[in-house]
Symmetry: C2
Subunit: 662 residues, 2 copies
């Protein structure tokens, strides 16, 4: 076991080895933007899938709506990005939705945000990995590798296991690791979009109508209604997942942290908007239809990159798959970190707050990988079947976070400022609260009305989207998330109550001096042998006086033998023999111990169990497990303490002993 762990995880790290790399804007973008940017690999396709429902029902122009829908989503993106810019300055030490909501709205909204985020982190892994595998299997279409399309789920599980092990080995979100894949993806994707649009202007062309048109899971054929358009909009909103990543990781940036983070956020939003709009415009121009066997991106790339440019198709697919794996990897940092915060606040088992051999939160990594695998298996590794569950949690956490910020500004605004507060960068002692206020806080307090407006708009916009998401996706899978989040919150609360209760029962506060313990020592025996005699000696050491040996009589003959041997062999121990007409051993012992406890309610009973420890595990099968059963029966009995006195048996010498009986 141990050596397998070492092989898998590698050598342990000292606590002192924990180090924090500071990121520049460039590397910061690579590390934090992979999740958000990677969603352009599937967001357009998810819109098309819903529009395909109306297309298949006869609405020939249904796919045209992909462009206005994309613009609507980009507007939401801009609002969210500007809102989060505020959070970055207000919470320079990292303002995740859990912390912001808990700080400003109270524990329950905080827990709701945390539950929503945990669910969405799991979904990020499943969706990203499924989409990454789809990029790989799409590239395999038409080649001799097409058969891997039948093994999508297995491929997903292998990738998840790979990422989990990499994280258990302590892979850090290092700029060096992320920069290559992220910028390769961005560049190859932007090149594809630019090249594709120019090529279209020169030689307009349309994709061939596919035979295997794919529709959004669970939709019936229907005309192009407003409700269907809202559904397409909802599906596209997955593009916004990951936008909050930068606001969680501000302390990782170089100084000035907040400013650098804010700039990076702006860049990320701009890139995301460009790539997303570009993809949707291309889909419109080339009239690409979603297909069962191939992703929309793969279809583009095949149409555009022909002839001498054919190799670039594989570049696009490879960088797409790579960024999606990186996006999944982001959750492997976020989920365990949030779980450890919750565990630290005692809303999750404390094991989530323990750092493993590589200083990572190993338990969170393992649990995340397990849940992601379950989702992949349950939904057959199909991105579009997972999408209805996705984004609900993200927008719920957006809404809670933004609402929290509104209250944050309200509180800041209410704080009465000194008449002429100096704005020279030095701290000022607040007159009302007596607290030191940092200059940033003072600045905040001045602009609170503007800030309320921005975050208020953010809160309203995201809450509207949230309502739309829940309504349009409810029947297609969002109900699972809607059900799961309150259940998780209830679980958090139950765990929290337990820890509080334990703490209350264990506290040393108000504790009077404990009185010295009195105890009586009982040694259950099955006969007289060396192990028993050794147990008697130990009992004499720990007893203050009287020792009782307890023997159960199931065989009159054996009992007579024992009594005969007792005198002369054992000194200072009283023999008590109990009849057992039903041949049970444990029950009469328990009854005897209970009687002793009743007789002396102030005393403890110490049960000294002579046990021999066989040299090999299978030898256990050759002996009655009476002492194990006795221990089990006594485990939950107050005022009883059980001591096993082991008698270690040596390895038997083969050959010599075996001959005795021949």
């Amino acid at each position: 076991m141990y050596s397998f762990k070492r092989l898998l995880v590698g050598k342990a790290k000292r606590t002192a080895q924990a180090l924090h790399e500071r990121l520049t804007k460039k590397t910061g973008l690579a590390v934090f933007a992979s999740d958000a940017l990677s969603s352009t690999a599937y967001a357009t396709e998810e819109i098309l899938l819903v529009l395909a429902v109306a297309f298949a029902a006869g609405a020939a122009n249904a796919f045209h709506y992909v462009v206005p829908i994309t613009f609507a989503i980009v507007i939401v993106l801009i609002i969210v990005a500007i809102s989060y810019r505020q959070t970055i300055f207000a919470y320079p030490s990292g303002g995740g939705a859990y912390i912001v909501a808990k700080d400003n709205l109270g524990t329950t909204p905080g827990l709701v945000a945390a539950a929503a985020l945990l669910v969405d982190y799991v979904l990020t892994v499943s969706v990203s990995i499924s989409a990454g595998v789809a990029a790989i299997t799409s590239a395999a279409q038409g080649t001799s590798w097409a058969w891997i399309n039948d093994h999508k789920v297995l491929l997903c599980l292998i990738l998840i296991a790979f990422i989990a092990v990499a994280n258990l080995r302590g892979v850090r979100e290092s700029g060096a690791l992320f920069a290559g894949p992220t910028y390769s993806f961005v560049i190859s994707f932007l090149f594809m979009v630019g090249y594709g649009i120019i090529r279209y202007l020169l030689h307009p062309a349309a994709a061939p109508a596919p035979e295997d048109l794919k529709l959004a899971e669970g939709y019936h054929l229907q005309p192009l209604t407003w409700f269907l358009l809202l559904g397409a909009f909802s599906n596209g909103c997955v593009a916004l997942t990951g936008t909050e990543a930068i606001s969680n990781g501000i302390p990782a940036f170089k100084q000035p942290e907040s400013k650098n983070a804010a700039t990076t956020l702006a860049w990320m939003a701009a890139l995301l908007a460009t790539m997303f709009i570009g993809t949707s415009v291309m889909a419109y121009l080339y009239q690409v239809h979603p297909r069962e066997s191939e992703t929309v991106i793969s279809q583009f790339a095949r149409i555009i990159f022909t002839g001498p440019m054919g190799w670039f198709y594989y570049i696009v697919q490879a960088t797409t798959a790579l960024i999606l794996v990186l996006a999944a990897n982001t959750s492997f940092a976020d989920f365990p970190r949030l779980a450890s915060l919750l565990a630290r606040d005692r809303f999750l088992p404390r094991q989530f707050a323990t750092r493993g051999d590589k200083l990572v939160f190993s338990n969170g990594i393992i649990i995340l990988a397990l849940f992601a695998c379950v989702l992949v298996i349950a939904f057959g590794g199909d991105t579009s079947r997972l999408i209805p569950l996705y984004a609900v949690g993200v927008f719920l956490s957006f809404t809670l976070s933004q609402t929290g910020m509104v209250l944050h500004w309200l509180r800041a605004g209410r704080t009465k400022l000194p008449a002429a507060a100096p704005d020279n960068g030095s701290s000022v002692k607040m007159m009302v609260t007596g607290q030191l206020v940092a200059p940033a806080k003072l600045k905040e307090a001045r602009h609170w009305k503007k800030s309320i407006a921005i975050n208020g708009l953010g809160a309203i916009a995201t809450s509207i989207v949230l309502v739309v998401l829940v309504i349009t996706k409810f029947l297609h899978g969002a109900w699972i998330v809607v059900l799961l989040i309150p259940l998780l919150v209830a679980l958090f609360r139950k765990i929290h109550r337990h820890y509080l209760d334990i703490a209350a029962q264990l506290t040393t506060e108000g504790l009077q001096k404990l009185r010295p313990v009195q105890h009586e020592v009982i040694v259950p025996i099955s006969g007289i042998h060396r192990g028993v005699l050794q147990a008697f000696e130990y009992a004499k050491t720990i007893a203050n006086g009287h020792i009782t040996a307890l023997y159960i009589n199931v065989d009159e003959e054996a009992t007579q033998k024992l009594r005969a041997k007792w005198t002369g062999f054992v000194e200072g121990v009283e023999l008590v023999v109990i009849a057992s007409p039903y041949r049970s051993l444990v029950a009469p012992m328990i009854r005897y111990i209970d009687r002793r406890l009743q007789l002396h309610p102030q005393q403890l009973v110490t049960v000294v169990l002579p046990e021999f420890v066989p040299a090999k595990w299978w030898h256990h099968l050759l002996h009655n497990q009476t002492s194990l059963m006795l221990k089990g029966a006594l485990l939950f009995k107050p005022n009883v303490i059980v001591i096993s006195v082991p008698y270690h048996l040596k390895i038997e010498k083969n050959g010599t002993n075996g001959k005795r009986n021949d």
Copy 2:
């Protein structure tokens, strides 16, 4: 768990309730003959299956050989029966092959016989139940119940479970239970044979040639060679299984036990011979071919019982199925009894010698049922596929038992009798050995030459059959048994060596007075709370002086807090803090304890573990299992004794505590 056991097994019986019913010859025949007689239900068919190989290869008269083969087997039966008659008188307290072989040939032959018998008891269950189910499914042919033919294995498993539970509930081999089914079977079977032969003489008829001719498993089509005839003979030898049952159970008969048992054996052999020959003759007359879908007996009964006698067909099938279930039940008495003998002699785990709630050897019953189920599943519940494994063990035990008897008589013959030994029924003090010799023994001693001749013939006949069985059936499955028996013997010996070794290590013989124990008390702690303080109090009670509290420093801040709290709070306990740069808790504790053991090699180390016992099982998930891991690591360390001092937590009061953190 406990109440489920009560429901399944019923109320426990007192040891004193063990009682022994004495059987008359009539009831004795019913109880002990069911196994032997039931084999007539399939023995003829198994012969035909081998002959069918030559028939299918073109030998039109192949099936005619069933009659001479049957006669040959009956001759072996008569020899075996006469031989066992001798054993009955020589071992009036029950002469199973294990005891006879061990007494006269030595331990190893005794163990070989025991292994052979254990294997065959398992096979008796599988074969009988499979054959019983075949009787049921045959009857269902052509009715609306024909579908049960596809669920043979399940039906077998249900029946085995049923018999096992009945035996665990303490069903006794009572005459009342067995008499009905056994005599019904004998009467209906004899009636079928008689009626069938008379009917044939009046209206000669032949069975229609079947479309689904069944061949013996694993045979290639081949002409009618001597070897094939030997194979058919081997298959038919299964008729002899169970012949030894009476010699095991002599003490169950009314006085004079041996005489009654011998008479019953003679009756059983006569009945078995008549029924077996009758069946084979009928098969010859009616030219019945073995079929995939129906047993041979069922085919007879269908041909014979037509028109107004049609109902008798179902009587035959029902009594056949019933006697086969009873035959399986016999093994459920024999296997646990033999296992308990082996366990008493320490060749099997001693759990096999323990009587359960109903005074039966429960563990033997459960193991037998499990193995029988495994066989049924492995061989698809098909009697003819199990037959090659069967009877090898029986004939091996016959041979060993008869050879043992030969040596028994030789020894008796060598005993020098007093010149004029009185033959008046009184005991005589032997001049040579000084032992009392019972009159029966004296009589034995006189007829020893005749006895040697009889048992010698038995030994030779059964050993020849054994060789034939092994040769003809080896490739078809007997190799499994040939391999298994020595493996079992090796296992018995290994177990025996272990028990001898334990006994040698635990013996009090030659033991000098143990010196008083010195120990040092160490209390590993994770902080100061009520549970820890209580553990300190207990440690003070059992320690003779110094107590060490062991704390692992994984977090400098927490350690400072602990040190600050220590003074003033804890008295009489020394605090030892150990740094753990890799955050592991158990390893540094083990290292510390090891160091203490090295420092004082004459002392024990007592580790007092403060443990809180949660009120609900799932609460364990919320706590680190450090003490469990520590216990595991210390379990195999000599000179260390671990004591858990439990602090029992109460059920939490919902609602009140939960609000504290809001």
